[in-house]
């Protein structure tokens, strides 16, 4: 329970920083970047629940992000639906798509799952790109409204949108925290650690995996819908694979399977990428190697490295030291020749 209190400290600090930021640094550009980063964080949390805690690396999430964004965009633009209703529907639509995809995709494992979902994501992208009459094709969708007023609160200014999205992020974190610290979360982690064992312990892995998958798609969809109403223009490229790679990068640099990882990683990479802008055409010349080095030297991400460091400090005082942390994914095929 001590660690929980410590976590609380971090969380309160984070909330305070988020709330105070616009006052301390009234900079429209930073505000914009930060709001966008919050949106990515929500999507990354969704991905983290699936990839980090359950061990299924989905590359379809850019597609889900796009489904959420287009869901909201089409409902508001084409049917003129109320924003909030559309937001809820967009998330539900994404979850439904997630359910259908998950039913088949979750039969595959490891690399196959990754590539399968990559293909699903790509198909979603292609459909958005080709289905001109519905999505506007490459032209994209313009005129997406900003969030409509809730009573006296309006969301027309960048600051109000910032707070709105920040609130959604906090909601996401709360949900994640509660899931991870529960029997349900333990079940997910058990599946990640060994699916076979989980099954022999009477855990219906398919049901659980499907649940995570849908939930994870839900958050990707939520992020997408928020994106649509923040940028207010969407094109098919938000469903393209570069987006999923961005999300993965955020997750991995921050620390996969950790609660702080999505925030840390997204913030760091977004900040890095923005501050390398002065390099122009050649920024990838620096960014690429930097990314690679981060992965090599902080394989468990920044949050993971911090965690290890604390563990090491703690274990230095113990008589029976902990083993070095291993990677959570073990190469099944290498480690055990055969069961039996």
């Amino acid at each position: 329970m001590v660690s929980l209190l410590k976590n609380r400290g971090w969380i309160i600090g984070f909330i305070a920083a988020g709330v105070l930021f616009p006052f301390v640094l009234p900079n429209a550009y930073f505000l914009h970047i930060l709001t966008l980063a919050f949106i990515w964080m929500i999507a990354v949390y969704g991905l983290n629940l699936l990839a980090g805690y359950t061990g299924y690396l989905s590359l379809a999430h850019a597609g889900f992000f796009a489904v959420g964004a287009y869901g909201l965009g089409l409902l508001t633009v084409k049917t003129g639906m109320n924003y909030w209703l559309a937001l809820i529907l967009a998330c539900l639509i994404t979850s439904a798509v997630g359910l259908v995809v998950g039913l088949v995709a979750l039969r595959t494992r490891e690399h196959f799952f990754a590539i399968y979902t990559l293909c699903v994501g790509y198909i979603i992208y292609l459909i958005i790109d080709k289905w001109d009459s519905l999505t506007g094709g490459v032209r994209g969708l313009i005129g997406i409204p900003e969030p409509s007023n809730i009573g006296p609160i309006s969301f027309q200014t960048p600051i109000s949108q910032y707070y709105l999205i920040f609130a959604f992020l906090l909601f996401t974190i709360l949900v994640m925290y509660r899931i991870v610290h529960s029997l349900t979360g333990r079940t997910f982690i058990a599946i990640r650690n060994s699916e076979d064992l989980a099954r022999t312990l009477g855990i219906s892995t398919m049901k659980n995996k499907l649940m995570v998958f849908v939930l994870s798609a839900f958050f990707a969809g939520l992020a997408g819908a928020l994106y649509a109403s923040f940028i207010r223009f969407i094109g098919p490229d938000i469903g393209y694979i570069t987006i999923i790679f961005d999300l993965l990068t955020y997750l991995l640099v921050g620390g996969i399977g950790t609660l702080a990882g999505p925030i840390v990683g997204t913030f760091l990479i977004v900040a890095l990428s923005q501050s390398l802008q002065f390099l122009q055409d050649y920024r990838m010349l620096i960014f690429g190697p930097l990314l690679t080095l981060l992965i090599i030297f902080y394989p468990r991400g920044i949050a993971g490295a911090y965690h290890d460091w604390r563990l090491k400090r703690k274990s230095a005082q113990r008589t029976r030291p902990q083993k070095e942390q291993e990677y959570f994914e073990t190469e099944e095929s290498e480690k055990q020749v055969k069961e039996g």
């Binding site: 990839a51 690396l57 088949v104 039969r107 595959t108 494992r109 690399h111 196959f112 990754a114 590539i115 399968y116 990559l118 293909c119 699903v120 790509y122 198909i123 292609l126 459909i127 080709k130 694979i241 790679f245 993965l248 990068t249 991995l252 640099v253 996969i256 055409d281 050649y282 920024r283 990838m284 010349l285 960014f287 690429g288 190697p289 930097l290 990314l291 690679t292 080095l293 992965i295 090599i296 394989p299 990677y327 959570f328 994914e329 190469e331 095929s333 290498e334 020749v337």
Partner: protein, 287 residues
Amino acid sequence: MDIFIQQVFNGLTIGSVYSLVALGLTLVYGILHIPNFAHGALYMLGAYITLTMMLLWGIHYWIAMAVSVLVVGLLGVLMDRLVFHPLRNAPPIHDKIAAIGILLFLEAFAQLIWGADYRTMETPYGQVVNLFGMTATTQRVLINIGAVVVMILLYLFLKKTYTGSTIIAMAQNREGASLVGINTSRVAMLTFMLSGGLAAVAASLSAPINLVFPGMGHLVILKAFVIIILGGMGSVPGAILGGYILGFTESLGATYISNDYKDIIAFLMLVIILSIKPKGLFSREGF
């Protein structure tokens, strides 16, 4: 009927390129468990190096290609040493992101050196030939023949030589391989060398029918991943078959179903195949 034959040939041509790229990818993926997203960048560099050799020093096409195979192969080795070797105990997702870092770097690098614009590679084999009622250029015939030759050589190497078996052994148990006396680092380098070489061959063969530009790797890399999964991860025959299946799906799909939706058809087909056979057409035994 004519158009059918023509499209079969077109599918064969494009399938040959896909197969060659997929082969390089499947080797690294199957043996070292590295999903090398930077493979597309190796492909791109392969084309640029051949092109530069031809333009700068006026070297003959084939020699330029040989140089390119060597250089890109070495680049693959370098990549292994600098990035993937330190990551050898990490899960594949790390490799994935590291590879993306390399990809971004290499593309920016190519842009720095060669500029961002499209280049053309002239080939000595631009002549048009008419065979069996279809039209092709000598270059296209060469792509087909070249691919088959490379595939046969690779197959013989893996199946018939001891060095080839060491690659397969290492694919299955790295520590086991070192316990029988195999230098696993060297095999890893060899694998990357082969993989880079294959990318360079594919690029040099196909560049004359398309263009050379920093983003050209994107054209093939995603499809190559689809192919190696379709064929069964790490399976050499699977990669070859998968490449041709995709090639035919594209050419015949575009002709008889819909051009605009041909990519969707190809990817849907993969999704369907994986739904039925979650481990691909050939499982690992097919090596």
